[in-house]
C-alpha cells in the first residue's frame, strides 16, 4: 500500500520506505497514493507565538487537504500531543487547552467523513517516558521532532492501526455458552447453578455479557454456537434473572451437538454474511482449533484462562475486530449532527481555495547574490536538496566562488511568511555561455518552502535579471535523479522549449525577448 504523508517535520524513519512525503508544511503537492497521512507535530516554541494560531492554521490546511485528495482514498489523521512545552507560568494551561480543543475538533470531524480515520497519537506516545520523546541532537541536525529510537515501534503501531481500518471490521460475533458467557456448565450445574452476576467469577462474566450486549447495540450481529441441550439453555433464559444477554439479542443460534464448523457455516448462510466477517469466541481450545482448521477465514482469538481477564480480552476483541464498525443507522443520524456542528464551528478560518490560502500566508521573498556570508549556505543547499532540484549538481564553496568569478550568478532566495523566517531556501546558478546566451546550471528549492507558488516567481526573477544584463536567450536542463521527478516539467510550465530529450536529460531553450519585464510576484 503506497502512502503519501503530509508533514511539517522530518518523519521519514517513521514510515515504511516506500512512503512519499510532502514538503515541510506543504499541502499543495499531492502525489498519487493508496492512502494519505496527516501527521503534523507542534513546532518547538520558546515563546511568543500562540499555539491557538498554529492550530487554527492546521485546521485550515487539513480542510484543504481533505478537499484535494482523490475520493474514496483514506486519510489517516493523528491527534496532537505537545512533545516539548515550556510553561512560563505554573498556571498557564492555555496550550494544553488549545490542543485539547483541536483534538476534540479532529474527533468530530473524523466522524463526519468516513474516509478520515483518526489515530490517537497520545495512545502511542504516552507509552513512553517524556524524556524519550525528543532527541535534541537529531532535532537540531535534521528537524526530527520525534526521537528516531521510537521509529520502529511507531511503524508497528501505525501498521496495526491502518491494518485494522483496511481489514474492515467484522460483522458477526459467534459465542460459546458454558465457561464463555457464564461460569460453569449448565448441563451439570443447572440453570440456577451457573455463575453469572453476584460474586466472582459471576461478576466478571456479567461484565463480559454487558460489553457484548453493547457491541450488539452498536450494530454487530451476535450469535451463539454451543454444545448443550437446548432445553437447559432455554431454561436459563427463562428463569435466570442475572442473564444479561437475552435471546432477543441474538440473530442466530445453534445449540446442538453437531460440529461447530458446520454450525457456523450454516449460520453464515442464514445471516447472508461471509465467513470472513465472523469472529468465533470459545473457551475450549479444541473447538477453537477445529474451527481454525475447517474455516480458516473465521477469526478465532485465544480465550483467557481466568474470568478476571475477560475485560482485557474484550478490549482487545473490540480493537482488533469491531472498532471500525461505525456506520449503523443510528450512527448515520449522529453523523448528520456532527457534520452540522463541524460546519458551524470548525472552519471559521477555512479558505476557499489554494490561492486564498497562499495569500493568507503573507509570503515575502528576497533575492540576493551570494556573498561571503551566504556562500556556505548556498553550497550546502546544492549538496542537500534532492526533491526540487533540476540538475542535482553538488558544489563546494570554492565552486560557488568560481562561478561568480567567471561571470555567472549565484542567486539566493530568502523566504519569510506569517509563521516565520525560513532563511535561504532556494538557489539558482547561472553561467555565461557567450555574449548572447546564459545557462541555468542549477535551480533548486528546499522542500520546506515548496508549493507556495514561489518556484515560478523565483525563476521569473532570474530570467529578468539575465535579460537586464543583456542576454538574449537562456538554456536550461532537467536531469532526472532518484527523487526529483516533481520538478520534471518545471521549465515547460515556464514556457521553455525542449531542444533535446533523452532518458538522462532534457535540454531547454528560452528566448528572453518573450519574457515580460514585470515583477508580478
Amino acid at each position: 500500500m503506497s502512502l503519501f504523508v503530509f508533514r511539517n517535520s522530518t518523519l521519514e524513519p517513521f514510515f515504511e520506505s516506500g512512503a512519499i512525503f510532502s514538503g515541510y508544511g506543504d499541502i499543495s503537492g499531492i502525489s498519487e497514493a493508496d492512502a494519505y497521512v496527516w501527521f503534523y507535530l507542534l513546532p518547538f516554541e520558546t515563546g511568543g507565538r500562540k499555539m491557538q494560531e498554529i492550530l487554527n492554521d492546521y485546521r485550515a490546511r487539513l480542510q484543504l487537504v481533505q478537499s484535494r485528495i482523490p475520493a474514496h482514498h483514506p486519510l489517516y489523521v493523528f491527534t496532537i500531543h505537545p512533545l516539548f512545552l515550556l510553561r512560563w507560568e505554573n498556571s498557564d494551561f492555555s496550550t494544553m487547552q488549545a490542543v485539547e480543543e483541536f483534538n476534540q475538533f479532529l474527533a468530530e470531524w473524523a466522524k463526519a467523513d468516513t474516509a478520515v480515520k483518526l489515530f490517537d497519537f497520545r495512545e502511542f506516545i504516552l507509552h513512553y517516558p517524556q524524556t524519550m520523546w525528543v532527541d535534541w541532537k537529531y532535532y537540531f541536525l535534521s528537524g526530527m521532532q520525534l526521537n528516531p529510537r521510537l521509529a520502529r515501534d511507531f511503524r508497528e503501531w501505525f501498521a496495526q492501526k491502518a491494518g485494522a481500518v483496511l481489514l474492515r471490521a467484522k460483522k458477526c460475533l459467534v459465542l460459546d455458552l458454558d465457561n464463555t458467557l457464564w461460569g460453569g456448565i449448565v448441563g451439570e450445574d443447572g440453570p440456577q447453578g451457573i455463575r453469572i452476576g453476584g460474586d466472582y467469577p459471576g461478576n466478571a462474566f456479567a461484565m463480559f455479557q454487558e460489553s457484548i450486549r453493547e457491541l450488539g447495540r452498536k450494530g454487530v450481529i451476535l450469535a451463539v454456537c454451543s454444545k448443550n441441550n437446548e432445553n437447559d439453555v432455554r431454561e436459563v433464559w427463562k428463569n435466570n434473572p442475572s442473564m444479561i444477554l437475552r435471546k432477543e439479542d441474538l440473530a442466530a443460534c445453534r445449540i446442538n451437538w453437531e460440529n461447530k464448523a458446520d454450525n457456523i457455516r450454516s449460520m453464515a448462510q442464514e445471516l447472508n454474511i461471509g465467513l470472513d466477517s465472523m469472529v468465533f469466541v470459545d473457551d475450549n481450545p479444541s473447538e477453537r482449533e477445529l474451527v481454525k482448521q475447517m474455516l480458516p477465514m473465521v477469526e478465532v482469538p485465544d480465550f483467557p484462562t481466568q474470568p478476571y481477564l475477560l475485560p482485557a480480552f474484550f478490549e482487545r476483541l473490540l480493537e482488533q475486530y469491531f472498532q471500525a464498525y461505525a456506520l449503523t443507522g443510528e450512527d448515520l443520524q449522529k453523523t448528520v449532527q456532527y457534520r452540522a456542528n463541524a460546519e458551524r464551528t470548525a472552519f471559521r478560518s477555512g479558505f476557499a481555495d489554494m490561492r486564498e490560502y497562499i495569500a493568507s500566508l503573507q509570503i515575502r521573498m528576497q533575492i540576493t547574490e551570494a556573498d561571503m556570508y551566504t556562500i556556505p549556505r548556498a553550497a550546502q543547499l546544492t549538496r542537500k536538496t534532492n526533491q526540487f532540484n533540476l540538475t542535482t549538481r553538488r558544489y563546494s564553496e570554492q565552486d560557488i566562488i568560481r562561478f561568480r568569478e567567471q561571470g555567472g550568478h549565484v542567486f539566493c532566495l530568502k523566504v519569510e511568511d506569517r509563521f516565520g523566517d525560513y532563511g535561504i531556501t532556494g538557489i539558482a546558478i547561472t553561467l555565461k555561455n557567450d555574449l548572447h546566451t546564459a545557462v541555468i546550471d542549477s535551480f533548486l528549492m528546499s522542500c520546506r518552502i515548496l508549493g507556495k507558488g514561489m518556484e515560478q516567481a523565483f525563476l521569473k526573477y532570474v530570467l529578468n535579471a539575465l535579460k537586464q544584463e543583456g542576454f538574449e536567450q537562456v538554456q536550461a536542463s532537467y536531469i532526472p535523479a532518484a527523487k526529483n521527478s516533481q520538478a520534471e516539467n518545471f521549465y515547460e510550465q515556464a514556457g521553455f522549449k525542449i531542444t533535446a530529450q533523452s532518458d538522462s536529460q532534457k535540454k531547454y531553450c528560452l528566448s528572453l525577448a518573450e519574457v515580460k519585464l514585470d515583477m508580478d510576484i
Binding site: 524513519p13 541532537k137 541536525l141 535534521s142 528516531p148 532518484a482 527523487k483
Partner: protein, 73 residues
Amino acid sequence: MRQQIKDILSLTLRSEIADDCSQRNCHNWDSLNHLNIVIALEETFDISFEPEEIAEMTDIDTIEFFILKKRQA
C-alpha cells in the same frame, strides 16, 4: 565490526557495499540515509555520536574510527 558496519550500510542504502564505499561514491547515501545510518549505528553499538562526528562519518574507515574511539573512552 567492519562487517557489522557494512551490513548496516547495505541495509540502509539497499545496495552492495564495497570497502571504499563513501557518501561521495554512493548515490543512495543522501543526507536522510546518512541520518538513518547514524541511528542504526548508535543502536547497534549502543553509543551516541556528537554532531561534529556525524558530519565526518562519510565513509567506512571514519565510521570505524569513531566507533573505536567511543569504545575506548
